[in-house]
Symmetry: C2
C-alpha cells in the first residue's frame, strides 16, 4: 500500500519558514553541549560564559630583573646621600619572580650598586614600582569569555593561564548521509560499465557538513529498494542529529525517500519552486530532521546550502556567516523560468569599468560548473531573466583577491590555453579563466569589451589568412594586438587503427560513418565548411553533421567512446586519447588582446609564460604543435 | 666559552628582507608535496595541474525518463499520422541510463503511447535530443584543477567523478615548538607556587601554526639549562621543517637561544625594533629556520605573526591572506617610542559618525588584551604616537559583523556588566565591550561622544545623590538617559575570618594594616574619600592608599592573595573569592546612555535583558545586590 506523494512547487521562502518552524518544534534549534579539553578546542564555540579560575599573575611578580625592597627603606637616597640596604632587607629577583609580601618595590639591576655590606641606592623607590600586581592580566572570577565565543589560539592561551583546562562547548551536530541508487558505484572502480555512476555526492555533502561545523557520517551505497532504504534510515536515524538522503536522479526513484519519510515520520515538503533542486524533500523522523536531496550534484549541493546549512547553524545557536556579494555586469542574456527561484553559477572577473559575471553551464549534472564558479546569481521568482549587460549581485564563495587577479579568455578552445592557465597560477598566482564559445563568440566578446582576450583561429576563405580580416571587420575602432599562441595540426580524429579506413573528407559521407561536428561559430567548423566546399561535398550527406560538441577533447572523447566514428579536431586531442589522426591542415591559433582592458603587468607575464621553455615543452609534448613565433605580436590595430 | 650575543635593534623591514632571503637561500621556499586520498584532501592545496582521467558521463546518457530510439525511425510522425516503433527498435531508459549507440535520441515518457505492437509517436525526434553526450561535464584529459587550487567539497566531487582518487598536494610544514623556562609548569597543576607560570605559549603557537596550514609538534618544557636546551634543539631539528623556541621572559635567560643558534647554525638577527617583541631571534640550524620568540604571550604571538607566518605561507608556495583593515578614530592618545614599530591591540565599535578604536592594556604579559582585541594598530617607527581622535587603520582579526554589532560601555566596573554582556551575546548575538576606567572616565567618554553608554556611581557629597549633578555639569547640552542597573553594598573587603579584626574605616590607619585602593576617578574612590572626610581620617596615615587597582575583583584578589590586608569594594567581589566583608554603604550603580549614539534596537534589548528574570537571578546569586528598579529610566536630560 504505497501512498502517492505528489510533488509540489512550494516557494522557497515558504518552505524555509515551514522548515525552520518545524525544526524549532522538534527541539532541533536547542544546541547540545559537551565538555572538552581546551587543548583540543581550537575553532569550537563556548556554550556558556567562562570565568577565570586563577588570577594571573597569581602572585606579585617582578616586572624587571633587579632587587625587591621595602620602598620605605630607600627614602632619602640621593647621589650624595646613598642609602645602603642590608642583605636581609632585599632579595634578588628576575623578571617574573615572586616578590615576597614583606617587599613593596623592585629596583632595576642597572640602578643597584653592590657593596661589601649590602647594596647602595641613589634614588628612592616609589612604592609598587616594577611590580605586576596579582591579577594584572586576569583576576579569578573575571569573565574571561562570554557565551558563543569561538576559541582561537589566544583564547586557548588565556584559558590555560586562567587554570581552565576543560570547557563546555557547543556539540558538533552529527549528520548522517545515505547515498541511494542502484546505478551508483564506489569511487576507485577501474572499469565502469555504461550506466554506472561514481557515488561522489555523499563525499561532497560530507565536506559541506564540515564547513558548517558538523560531523558527517556516511552510510554505504543503498540500492533503489524501498526495504533496504528504510532499513538504512531506521538504523542511521538513531546515531545522528540530522539525516540527508541522496536520491537517485530520476523522479520515479526518489519518491522512495518521500514515501519512507511519510511512513516513518512527518513529510513536510516535497518539491520546491527552485531550479536546480526542485525535487527536494523536507521532513522528520523520530523528531530528527531528514532532507532528501536530488541526485544531480549541482542540485544536491544547492538544496543542502539552502536548507541543511541554515538548520545546522541554528542547531549550534549561531548565525549563518553573512553572504558576501559584488555587483557584476552579466556577460550574456540569462533567461529564467518565472515560476522558480533560479540559481546560476558564474565566474567573475574585474574589467576596468565593472566586474563581469560569466554564466557557466547550467546543467544540474555539471560538477565542473561548481569547481569553476566564483559564486552564484539568484534570479527570483516572477523575474523572466536578466539581459546581457544588466547589473546583478553575485554571491561569492571565492575571495575578491582571486577575482581581482583573473584574466578572462573567451573564444576558441585549445589545450595550450589550459597549460597557460596552469603556469600563470603556478608562477604568478594569476588565474586565467576560459570560456569555450568558439572563435566568433570570442570576437563578439571582444567587441562588447567584456573579456581581456580571445583565442581565435578563423580562416578567411578569400585570402587564406587567419583572423585579420575578421578583426578589421568586427573591431574597427578598437585597440587590439594579435599574439601568436601556437600553430597546430587540424584533421580527422578516428578510432585507434582507423577501422573504417577514413582517409579524407569524402569518406565522411559514407553510409556507415557516424560523424560528430563542432558548434557553429567555431574556427574548426569554419575550416571544415571551407574544406567541404572546396571539395564540393554536401553537409546533408554527412550523418551527425548537426551533432555538435564544444571542444576538441569532447570530439575526441565521442570517438574514443564509440558515440561516433570520426570528428574534426587538433592532433593533440587525438593523441592524448590514443586515437588515430588524418591530417588536413596546419592553422594558426592566436590570442587577440585588448591592451586597454588587461592589467599591463598581467599582459607582460602572459607573454613571459608563452615564451618560457616550460610552456614550449609542455605544449610540444602534446604533439601536433609548432611553437615557432609563439609569444610574438604579429599585428596591432594601431 | 660562551660568546656574547649582542641584542640589536634592527628595523622590522630590514629583518624581514634578510630573513626571507635567507629562507630562499636554504631552500625553505620550495614547497614539498605529498600524495593523499581525495577523500581526506579537504582544504589542502594542489601542487600541480590535475587532469580528468575519465569522462563524465563516460557513456551517452538519457537526460529524461523515456525511450531511446533512432531519430530516423520517427520522421514524418504527426498527430494524424503517428509512427509506430516496434519493440526491437527502441529501448526503455531512465534518466542517467546508457543510450546504446544504435540509438540517437530519447523521447520523454510523456510523449510515448504504448500499443500492442510497440509504441506510437506523434512528433518526430530531433537527433541527439535528451541525450547527455560523453564528457558533457568533463572529458578525459581535461584540465580539472590548475596548480595551487584549494580543495573544497566541490573539488572532491569533481575529482572522484573524474576517476582521480589520489592527488598530489602541498605538504603541511611541520613546526617544532620548544618551551623553555625553569619557572614553567604544565597546565593542570592545581596548586602553583608563587613564581611558577603556566606554560601556555606553546599551545597558542600550535594553534597559530594550524591557522597557517602547518602541523605543530610540541616538545615538553625544557629547563633554563644550556645543555638541555641544546639537546632538545638537536633532537627536534631532525623531525621538523621549522623550529620555534619559546624563551623565558628575562633577557638573561633568552640569550641561550641566540647562543645555541650561533653555535649550531647561523644567527641572523637578535633584537628587532618592534614593541612588543624586541628580543626576537632569527636564524637557522642545519638549513632549517629557527625563530626565538620572547616569553610574554603578546610578544610571542606578534613575533610569530610577523616572521613565522609569512615563512610558513612561503613554504607552501601561497601568499599570505591579505590584511583586512578599517579606518577608526582612536579613542585616546597613544604615545609611541619613535625608534620602534609599535603594535597596539584594540577593540573596535561603530558609532554613528565613525568607527572607534579603544586601545587595550599594552602590557606584553596581558593575554586578555589578545582575547579581547578585534585587531591591532601599527604605529610605524619615526612616529611619536597618535592623538586622541586621530583616524588610523586597524588591522582586523575579527569580523566586521561582530564589530558592527557591538555596544560600548566605558566607565566603572561592576560584575553585573559582565552578566549583561554574556546575556546579550547569548540571546541576541550582540557584543558588549566594557572598559574599566572609573566613573569619571566614563563621563568623559560620554562627553567626547565615543561610547554608547557608561556605568557610573558618583556620589555628590553635597546632596547625597548619585550621578545627577555630575551629568548636569559635564554633559550640559547632551541628550542622555539614566538607567538603574543595580543597587549594591560597598564596604571593606577583608581576609576570611577577618584576622586583623577590621570593623571600620579608622582601622585602616593601624600600623600593621596594608590597604589597597581603587584608582582616582573611580566612584569607589570618591565614596572612600567622602567617608574618610566625614570621619576626619587622613589618607596619609593609610599604608597603601596610593596602591591602586582598577576593578573590584582585583582589590579582592589582592586581599585573597595576601598582597594586602584590606581594600574597598562591593560585597559580590568579596563573596566570589570567599572573603569577609564589612559593609559601609549601599549605592546606586547606573548606566548613562546616549540615545543618539546607540542603535535603538540595541537599547531596547539592553533594557529587556536587564529586566529579565535570568539577569535578576544571576546578579542576585552574587550577593550584595538589590535589583529593585533595575532597568527603569530614572532620569532623562530632556
Amino acid at each position: 500500500m504505497q501512498r502517492k506523494i505528489y510533488i509540489e512547487n512550494m516557494p522557497l521562502d515558504e518552505a524555509r519558514q515551514l522548515w525552520m518552524n518545524h525544526l524549532s518544534s522538534i527541539g532541533f534549534c536547542s544546541p547540545l553541549t559537551e565538555t572538552i579539553a581546551v587543548e583540543s578546542a581550537l575553532n569550537r564555540i563556548t556554550s556558556k560564559a567562562i570565568y577565570a579560575r586563577r588570577s594571573s599573575p597569581h602572585y606579585p611578580a617582578a616586572a624587571m630583573d633587579g632587587i625587591a625592597v621595602r620602598a620605605a627603606d630607600t627614602y632619602g637616597a640621593t647621589e650624595r646621600t646613598p642609602v645602603v640596604i642590608k642583605p636581609d632587607h632585599y632579595v634578588e629577583v628576575d623578571t617574573g619572580d615572586y616578590v615576597p609580601n614583606n617587599f613593596d618595590a623592585v629596583i632595576m639591576i642597572e640602578d643597584v650598586n653592590y657593596e661589601n655590606n649590602g647594596v647602595s641606592i641613589i634614588k628612592p623607590a616609589v612604592p609598587w614600582q616594577h611590580i605586576r600586581s596579582i591579577g594584572e592580566d586576569m583576576v579569578a572570577q573575571d569573565l574571561l569569555l562570554p557565551s558563543y565565543t569561538r576559541i582561537g589560539p589566544f583564547e586557548q592561551a588565556a584559558l590555560l593561564t586562567a587554570a581552565v583546562d576543560k570547557i563546555e562547548v557547543i556539540a558538533q551536530p552529527i549528520v548522517g548521509i545515505i547515498p541511494t541508487g542502484t546505478e551508483l558505484v564506489n569511487y576507485g572502480s577501474v572499469d565502469m560499465a555504461p550506466g554506472e555512476i561514481v557515488e561522489s555526492n555523499s563525499h561532497m555533502l560530507a565536506g559541506l557538513c564540515q564547513q558548517c561545523g558538523a560531523l558527517p557520517l556516511r552510510h554505504k551505497i543503498v540500492a533503489d529498494d524501498r526495504k533496504q532504504i528504510k532499513k538504512a534510515v531506521l538504523e542511521m536515524i538513531e546515531q545522528v542529529d540530522m539525516l540527508v538522503i541522496c536520491s537517485g536522479a530520476s523522479v520515479g526513484r526518489e519518491d522512495y525517500t518521500a514515501v519512507i519519510i511519510d511512513e516513518l515520520g512527518e513529510l513536510l515538503v516535497h518539491g520546491l519552486a527552485i531550479r536546480p533542486g526542485k525535487p527536494a524533500i523536507l521532513g522528520s523522523i523520530k523528531d530528527k530532521p531528514v532532507i532528501g536531496v536530488p541526485g544531480y550534484p549541482v542540485s544536491a549541493q544547492l538544496v543542502f546550502h539552502l536548507l541543511a546549512r541554515p538548520a545546522l547553524f541554528a542547531r549550534q545557536g549561531i548565525s549563518e556567516p553573512e553572504e558576501v556579494s559584488i555587483q557584476c555586469q552579466i556577460a550574456r542574456k540569462l533567461p529564467s523560468h518565472a515560476g522558480v527561484d533560479e540559481y546560476v553559477y558564474v565566474n567573475c572577473a574585474r574589467l576596468p569599468n565593472s566586474y563581469y559575471a560569466y554564466p557557466l553551464n547550467r546543467g544540474a549534472g555539471i560538477t565542473t560548473s561548481l569547481t569553476k564558479s566564483d559564486g552564484f546569481i539568484r534570479i527570483p521568482r516572477g523575474n523572466e531573466g536578466l539581459e546581457a549587460g544588466e547589473l546583478t549581485p553575485v554571491v561569492l564563495h571565492r575571495s575578491r583577491h582571486t577575482i581581482d587577479n583573473t584574466i578572462v579568455c573567451i573564444g576558441s578552445h585549445d589545450l595550450a590555453i589550459d597549460i597557460l592557465a596552469d603556469l600563470l597560477q603556478l608562477h604568478y598566482g594569476i588565474r586565467l579563466i576560459s570560456s569555450n564559445v568558439g572563435s566568433m563568440g570570442g570576437i563578439m566578446s571582444l567587441r562588447r569589451q567584456e573579456t581581456h582576450l580571445a583565442g581565435i583561429h578563423l580562416l578567411d576563405p578569400q585570402t587564406g589568412d587567419y583572423n585579420t580580416s575578421y578583426l578589421k571587420r568586427y573591431l574597427p575602432n578598437t585597440n587590439w594586438k594579435l599574439l601568436t599562441l601556437v600553430r597546430r595540426q587540424q584533421g580527422l580524429i578516428v578510432k585507434a587503427g582507423n577501422p573504417l579506413n577514413i582517409t579524407n573528407l569524402a569518406d565522411l559521407a559514407r553510409s556507415k560513418v557516424r560523424f560528430v561536428n563542432r558548434q557553429k561559430g567555431s574556427g574548426t567548423r569554419v575550416l571544415l565548411d571551407f574544406l567541404l566546399e572546396k571539395e564540393n561535398l554536401k553537409s546533408e550527406n554527412i550523418y551527425g553533421y548537426n551533432h555538435e560538441e564544444y571542444t576538441h577533447l569532447a570530439v575526441a572523447a565521442a570517438v574514443a567512446n564509440d558515440a561516433c566514428d570520426v570528428g574534426m579536431g587538433v592532433y593533440a586531442s587525438a593523441n592524448v586519447l590514443n586515437l588515430d589522426f588524418v591530417p588536413l591542415a596546419e592553422e594558426t591559433y592566436e590570442l587577440c588582446i585588448l591592451p586597454d582592458l588587461i592589467d599591463p603587468e598581467h599582459f607582460e607575464l602572459l607573454i613571459k609564460i608563452i615564451k618560457s621553455q616550460e610552456f614550449i615543452e609542455r605544449v610540444t609534448s602534446l604533439g601536433g604543435y609548432n611553437l615557432e613565433g609563439s609569444g610574438e605580436i604579429r599585428l596591432s590595430s594601431q
